[in-house]
Amino acid sequence: METIDQVVIRFAGDSGDGMQVTGDQFTNESAILGNDLSTLPNFPAEIRAPAGTLAGVSAFQVHISDHDILTPGDAPNVLVVMNPAALRANIADVPVGGTIVVNSDAFDDRALEKAGYSSDPRSDGSLSQYRVYEIPMTALTQEACKPTGAKPRDAERSKNFFALGVVSWLYTRPTEVTERWIAERYGSNSVVVEANTLAFRAGYNFGETAELFESAYQIAPAEHAPGTYTNVTGNMALAWGLVAASQLAKVPVFLGSYPITPASDILHELSKYKNFGIRTLQAEDEIAGIGAALGAAFGGALGISTTSGPGLDLKSETIGLAVSLELPLLIVDVQRGGPSTGLPTKTEQSDLLHAMFGRHGEAPVPIVAAMTPSHCFDVAIEAVRIALKYRTPVILLSDGYLANGSEPWRLPAIEDLPDISTTFATEPNAESDSGEPAFWPYLRDPVTLARPWAVPGTPGLEHRIGGLEKADGTGNVSYDPVNHETMMHLRAAKIAGIAKDIPLVECDDPTGDATVLVLSWGSTYAAALAGVKRVRKTGERVAQAHLVHLNPFPSNLGDVLRRYPKVLIPEANLGQLSKLVRAEFLVDARSLTNVRGEPFHVAEVQQAIHDLLDEVRGKAASEPAPSAEEAGRS
């Protein structure tokens, strides 16, 4: 038994091979064992692309370690492939010397041809620089499943559990977790339970007895703070955060949404929680989803609409109405590759400027962004807090990587969660010309500039609101030019004023004399911080800060940025936060961009920081950065 500190494993196969299940289960085994971990599912937009083709390859990468890690890993140390297409699609990512576990039964001529191989890569020398383990997984699975009486063609479908068994042995994972999960998941079909269990055990035993591998590996548990943990994806944490926000605010959730990848899971999750008084509507389209959420908000509910990509375009007009109506509303945008349909299952951060400016007229909207899968929980509560307190639509940005990626999460104590309860208007707040009590829907709170939330059913507060410009105070329709100017400034000031009510941005600059600041937002947090840590290990000084609030910015952001000659902003777009920061603060903010549909590699952030450090010192930025080994682990 050899002890290692971390490993990155990628399971890859055909869309129908069950690679996501395999990856999920390996993750669960590792979580229970106490390793720190980070995952990256990667699957095609097509449900079942033609079997055996490159287009149909589905993969799941998991990074496990005995210490705190931030990212799912730049490159897999171990690649498990169920067919030739999976090998061809992923081999370029495996560093020389890496381990490849192959289902050799899948490498027949037809499969090789479908994958575009003219010769068998196992024998033509193209894998000579890797450690290749060939296992006839299909045949061994069929053999193992014989006692179930399943036909060989059906038994073959359990081969992903055989693969999971092999890798579970290789990394000394506990088997009970998966066996229990199989029994629960497939409980209604005893043949499937038996077949999957037998295949899993056969794979595990094969690893132990076949003497194929030199040894099994052990990865000690990571040091985690005391507490109760669970493994969450971003979408799950976000859905739970919305449930929590509803409870903390004492306002029932109404979710109006239209199915769209990769946001649909939030709709699925919330649809289950009816006992929390949550009402969900799968609307006829994106527009109806947010329209219904806004109607529910008018009635005193916590109106939410979740979407992605093109769905955000369709919601723009209603977000503008919500800005004018000054009603609380939450829009969750799980960003994916664009433009148009773009890359539905791949991650990107290219909706920031859309969230910021994507409405006609001046229609400012607060924006918050999640930084890790579990942070989706906290940011959901923060978004709801702002929406309720300031009676405004809020856009919460997540992304495809956070949505489907997972990490261990220490569960918060319920009593430590913030009180975000709100108040409804119950009494008239003004007098009519004749001295009668009157209700002015646009009479603002002097501190927050928020207007009262008076819901139908409240006697004496009957009022009409709409998208036409309203008179300051009374809320009656007004075309008066001076009033319009007043209202434009009031709406802007209300959103800008939220800066007084959010935390300052924290800048980590251990020596206090760094010349380069790395500023991240959203899911680039992980790669940015890991890159900073690696650079610091080379003895360089670099500062790091992260933004959760993107509109308004924290009030000290300008001061922080101006302390550094150079600011590097890694972002999965073509330079959106850097535009905002340059426009707002006149600082030399550089973008490091990545629009490949996957998270940043730590190495590229590291390289970019070194380049910028060189630039500050007046050197050419061409020398390669120290390798990850030299720089130490991330």
Binding site: I32, Y229, A288, G295, T318
Partner: protein, 340 residues
């Protein structure tokens, strides 16, 4: 909500303090008056009444009602109203819309709120023209309509709003017109009393851009011979002393005949409660336009659980089965492990 009896109100109590700004002579005035005269008779509270509209001339309606109201965006009123009605079953939610708003830009939402049977009362003011944008043809304009955007005549076949509502699984479908306050009030009363989505098409004259569109059937001189008042359980008749009537011929088509020629027993008896919408649909196609004898009144009124009640039932069932939500249990619902 209190147990105190609903206060007695009069029309003026339902009028807001805002000046009504439709063009002088617009049919919208008489519809507004009919609603404001009716509401005091319904035993409902102002604070529990909400008017939601989209965009268009008709959509200014909520501003003139001393109730809660929202003037939303073009075509989306049924969607906004759906969210409100589903979360607040205690409210009376009305949607006021027009032919462009409901059938063109918002056609999708109208269809879906009808099939869901959301508890709404939907008044569609049909004037067969775009008024607020100053006179373009609408999805109910007749083919060949010459307007600013169709100088050589419009080419597209119009919608028949009643047929459309019936095809969209509406449970209550009716038609009335702006020249007859009493008829409007009765139809609106029925629509309000119906639990679920009630759809009412109101023929409404736009005296600026499409004056007299319905004159041939709703004008006082023509009404008796041209409007067919549908009455549940009664033979369908029209004209002075009901001298004409509607029969179904051997091919299943509805036809207008002289009652004297066929005998009263041959007439179709109106049945608004019939589950099969076929006859109601045939009645909606009896007239090809507002120049032929046209049925008004209630085409269809059937019972089907409204959407909000079904949603509530699921929520209550979940709470009865699993108890009220417990956040801590929820967070621990997956696999958990303890450190330290």
């Amino acid at each position: 909500m209190t147990d105190v009896a609903v206060p007695v109100t009069a029309r003026k109590d339902w009028m807001s303090d805002q000046d009504v700004r439709w063009c002088p002579g617009c049919g919208d005035y008489s519809i507004l008056a009919a609603v404001q005269f009716l509401l005091p008779e319904l035993g409902i509270r102002r604070e529990n009444t909400v008017f939601i509209s989209g965009i268009g001339c008709a959509a200014r309606f909520p501003y003139y009602m001393n109730t809660y109201g929202m003037h939303s965006i073009h075509g989306r009123a049924p969607a906004v109203a759906t969210g409100l009605a589903v979360t607040r079953p205690d409210l009376d939610v009305w949607v006021v819309t027009g032919d462009g708003d409901a059938l063109s830009i918002g056609g999708n939402h109208l269809m879906h709120c009808l099939r869901r049977n959301v508890n709404l009362t939907i008044l569609l003011f049909n004037n067969q023209i775009y008024g607020l944008t100053k006179g373009q043809y609408s999805p109910t304009s007749e083919v060949g309509k010459v307007t600013k955007s169709t100088p050589f005549g419009s080419l597209d076949t119009p919608f028949n709003p009643i047929s459309l509502a019936l095809g969209a699984e509406a449970t209550f479908v009716a038609r009335t017109h702006d020249m007859d306050r009493k008829h409007m009030m009765e139809v609106f009363r029925r629509a309000h009393a119906h639990k679920g989505a009630s759809f009412v098409e109101v023929y409404q004259n736009c005296n600026v851009f499409n004056d007299g569109a319905f004159e041939q059937i709703t004008g006082r001189a023509h009404r008796e011979e041209m409007l067919i008042e549908l009455e549940h359980g009664k033979p369908i008749r029209l004209g002075v002393d009901g001298h004409r009537g509607v029969i179904m011929d051997a091919q299943g088509r509805l036809k207008i005949v002289e009652v004297a020629d066929v005998g009263e027993d041959a007439l179709v008896v109106h049945d608004e409660e019939r589950e099969d919408p076929g006859l109601a649909f045939a009645l909606s196609r009896l007239s090809r336009g507002p120049y032929e004898p046209t049925p008004i009144g209630v085409f269809r009124s059937v019972e089907r659980p409204d959407y909000g009640s079904l949603v509530d039932a699921q929520v209550l069932a979940a709470q009865a089965r699993r108890g009220p939500g417990d956040l801590e249990l929820l967070l621990k619902s997956g696999t958990t492990w303890t450190v330290g």
